[in-house]
Amino acid sequence: MIEKKTNISAMTVLILGLSTIALPLYLTIVIAFKQPTEMTNSISGILSLPKTWSLNNFREAMEITDFWNSLKNSLLITGLTVVLSIVVHSLMGYALGRNKAKSKFYSFVYLFIVSGMFVPFAILMMPLAKQTAELGLANWFGVILLYVVFYMPMNVLLYSGYLVNIPMALEEAAKVDGASTWTTYWKILFPIMRPMHATVAVLTALAVWNDVMTPLVIMAGSGENTLPLAQLNFQSQFGTNYNLAFASYLLSLIPILIFYVICQKQILNGVVNGAVK
C-alpha cells in the first residue's frame, strides 16, 4: 500500500478539540497540587500555578482513602466483572444473536434482556439490598454478580450486533470438520470477536470503576471500600476539600487509563478485517 501523507485537516480538528480537554485537565492537576488557602474565585487565581509542587496532597489523599486497600478492592471487583462479562455476555450474545432472527423464543429473550437496560437502578435498589442480604451476597461477590446482570443488556446488544458481521460460513466450515458448536465457539468465534471484547471490557470496566451506588447499597456496613466509595470522604454537605479530592481522582485515573490504552490497541488492531472479509 502507498504511504499517505499526514491528513492536515484531521490534525487541525484534533488539536482544536484537544483544547477542550487540556484546560480541564490542567485545572485538575493544578488544583490537586494547591492548598485550600490558595483557592479563589478569580480567573487568574484558578489558572495560576501552585505555590509549591509538593506531593503532600497525594500522600494525604492516599491516607484518607486507605488507598492500597481500596485500590485492591476496586481492581478485584473491576477485573472479575470484566472477565465474567466477556465470558458470560459473549456467550449470551452468541446464543441470542444467532437465533433471534429465526426463533420467537430467542427473539423474546433478546428483547427481554436488552430492555433491562432501561430499568432505573433506584427502583431495584431497595429490593436488591434485601435480596442480596437474604442470599448472603451482601459483599463484593454480590456486587460483581449484580454488575454481570446490570451490564448484560448493553453487552449482549453489542455482541449480538457484532455477530451480524461475522458470516455463518466460518462456523459451518468448522462443523464440517466435526467440531461441536461449543468448541467452534471457543476456537473460532471467541477469538474473532476480540475487538468487541476490548470494547466491552472498556465500557464495563469504566462503568464499574466509577460506580458508587451499587457498592454503597450492597456492601453497606461491611467495612470494605472501593476507591469511589472512599473518595466520598472528601465531600460532605457543609464542606468539600477539593484539593485532596482532585489529587485522589488523579491517582485513581491512572489504572483505568492504562487499561484503556491496552484495550484500544485490541479494538483498533482490527483482526476482523483480514479474517472475515
Binding site: 485550600p36 488557602t37 483557592m39 479563589t40 474565585n41 465470558v87 435498589m125 431497595m126 439490598a129 434485601k130 442480596t132 442480604a133 437474604e134 448472603g136 451476597l137 451482601a138 459483599n139 463484593w140 461477590f141 454480590g142 461441536s180 461449543w182 468448541t183 471457543w186 454503597l216 447499597v217 453497606a220 456496613g221 467495612g223 466509595l229 466520598l232 470522604n233 465531600q235 460532605s236 454537605q237 457543609f238 464542606g239 468539600t240 476539600n241 477539593y242
Partner: protein, 428 residues
C-alpha cells in the same frame, strides 16, 4: 469439552459464593465481649469518632465498640433497615428522617436513661415536637446543635464602626451603609439549592409560629398567611446580595466571604470549617437574624445537628447506655465542639467557639427555635421552591404552590394527625 468447561465455571461460581457466605458470618469478634455498633451520619467528624472508639475500647474490657462514619449514611441506614441489619445505636440529625424513624417504630424508648437529666430541656422539647403525632416515650439523646443566622467579618465591622443590628429596620439601614461604602453586604450561594433554606429558616423563626406546619396539618391556618412576611422580607434581603446569586454555589460563597468579598453571609455555624479552610486568619463572628421589626421578637435559629438513638432491636441496652455515658462525658463533648464548631445540648460549662460569640446570649437564655425545614418532607423540595420564588419574585404564586404542595406531599401524615385527633380529642 463442552460439559467440562461449563461445570468448571459453575463450580467456580458456586465455590466462590460458598466461601463468601462462610467468611461473611465468620468474622465475629471474640464472644466474651458485648458488641456495640454505632453508625453516625457526619463523616466530617470521623476523626473525632475514631478517637472516641479507641479510647472507649482501651478503657472497657466487657464491651467492644465500633463506630462507623460512612458517607451518605442515610442511604446506608435505609438499606440496612430494609435488610433488617440494625446497628445498636445511630447518630442522626433532628430532622424529618428522625420523625419517620420514630413513626416506623425502629427506635427504642429510652426514657429510663439517666443521662437524659443532663440534657437541655429545650432540645428534648425539639425532639418531642419532631414526632409526627405525640408518641409516648423518648427516642433520642441530643448531642450537639448548630445555629444559623448571619456570619459577619468582624475586622471589617470594626474598621468601619458598623453596629450589630437588632431589628429589621436596623438590618436594612446597615445594608444601605455597607453598600454606600462600596462593599457587598451579603454573599449568597443559591446555586446549591439547600443554601436558600438558610436565610429562610432564620427569618421564619422570627416571623412565623414555631409550630406553623403542625397548625397547617390540623387545618387551622395556611402558609399563605404564615409565610407572607418571611417571603417578602427575603426578597428585600436578596437586593443586598451579588448580582446573580444563582450562579454561585455554597463553596463559591464560602470562598468569597472568606476572601472579604462581602461583609456578611447569612448561613449556619456549620459553614465555619469550610470558610476557615480558605482563610484561616479570618476574624468572624455571628449574630441572630433580626428579621422581626421588634428586637424582642427575634429568636435564634438552632436545631439538633447530631443526636443518638438506640435501636429497638438492640439486645444489650445496658451496654448501649454505657457507651452513651462515655460519649456524653464533658471532655468528649468539648472536643467535639472544638473540632466542629457546634453547640452542646448538654447542660454545663462548655467553652463555645468564638464564632458563636454574638449568639451566646440567646443560647444561654434558651431563646432558640428549631429549623422550620426539619418539618418539611425532603421530597417536597422546599429549597428548590424557594429558589424558584427568588428567581421569579412572585410571592402569591409561591405561597399558593406551597400550600397545595404541602397538602399533597403530607397527605399520609395529615391523615395520621387527623386520626390521632379523632381518637384523643383535641388535646392541644
Amino acid at each position: 469439552m463442552k460439559r467440562r468447561n461449563g461445570k468448571y465455571l459453575g463450580a467456580a461460581l458456586c465455590g466462590a459464593a460458598a466461601v463468601m457466605a462462610l467468611t461473611g458470618c465468620g468474622s465475629e469478634a471474640d464472644s466474651h465481649k458485648t458488641e456495640i455498633e454505632i453508625v453516625q451520619y457526619k463523616p466530617e467528624a470521623a476523626n473525632y469518632f475514631s478517637m472516641v472508639e479507641e479510647e472507649f475500647n482501651a478503657t472497657h474490657d466487657d464491651i467492644h465498640l465500633t463506630i462507623s462514619s460512612p458517607n451518605d449514611a442515610m442511604t446506608i441506614l435505609k438499606t440496612r433497615f430494609i435488610r433488617e441489619d440494625y446497628p445498636d445505636i445511630i447518630g442522626i440529625g433532628g430532622d424529618i428522617n428522625y420523625s419517620y424513624f420514630v413513626d416506623a417504630e425502629i427506635l427504642m424508648d429510652i426514657s429510663d436513661y439517666e443521662g437524659l437529666k443532663n440534657i437541655n430541656q429545650g432540645y428534648l422539647n425539639i425532639d418531642e415536637s419532631l414526632e409526627l403525632v405525640p408518641t409516648e416515650g423518648i427516642y433520642a439523646v441530643p448531642y450537639v446543635a448548630n445555629a444559623a443566622g448571619i456570619l459577619y467579618n468582624r475586622d471589617m465591622f470594626e474598621e468601619h464602626g458598623w453596629e450589630i443590628p437588632t431589628n429589621w429596620a436596623e438590618l436594612n439601614a446597615l445594608c444601605e451603609t455597607i453598600e454606600a461604602e462600596g462593599i457587598l453586604p451579603f454573599y449568597f450561594g443559591f446555586k446549591d439549592t439547600w443554601t436558600c433554606l438558610a436565610p429562610w429558616n432564620s427569618m421564619a423563626v422570627d416571623l412565623a409560629p414555631a409550630d406553623a406546619t403542625k397548625q397547617v396539618n390540623r387545618g387551622e391556618t395556611t402558609f399563605a398567611k404564615e409565610y407572607r412576611e418571611v417571603s417578602e422580607k427575603y426578597l428585600t434581603l436578596l437586593q443586598y446580595g451579588p448580582d446573580d446569586p444563582f450562579a454561585y454555589g455554597y463553596n463559591d460563597a464560602c470562598t468569597a466571604f472568606a476572601r472579604g468579598e462581602s461583609a456578611m453571609y447569612p448561613i449556619g455555624s456549620y459553614a465555619a470549617p469550610q470558610i476557615l479552610s480558605v482563610n484561616p486568619d479570618l476574624n468572624m463572628d455571628s449574630f441572630v437574624m433580626p428579621a422581626n421589626d421588634a428586637a424582642e421578637g427575634n429568636t435564634l435559629n438552632s436545631g439538633i445537628d447530631l443526636q443518638f438513638s438506640v435501636l429497638a432491636g438492640c439486645k444489650n441496652k445496658e451496654a448501649a447506655y454505657e457507651v452513651l455515658n462515655f460519649l456524653y462525658e464533658d471532655a468528649n463533648i468539648q472536643k467535639y465542639i472544638d473540632a466542629q464548631t457546634a453547640i452542646p445540648c448538654k447542660k454545663g460549662d462548655f467553652a463555645l467557639p468564638s464564632i458563636l460569640d454574638g449568639m451566646t446570649e440567646y443560647i444561654a437564655s434558651g431563646n432558640m427555635t428549631d429549623y422550620p425545614d426539619h418539618y418539611y418532607p425532603s421530597e417536597m423540595a422546599v429549597d428548590a421552591q424557594i429558589q424558584t420564588f427568588l428567581l421569579k419574585k412572585d410571592v402569591d404564586a409561591f405561597l399558593q404552590k406551597f400550600d397545595t404542595d404541602w397538602l399533597r406531599y403530607n397527605r399520609d401524615i395529615i391523615r395520621l394527625v387527623q386520626d390521632y385527633e379523632r381518637q384523643h380529642g383535641n388535646a392541644d
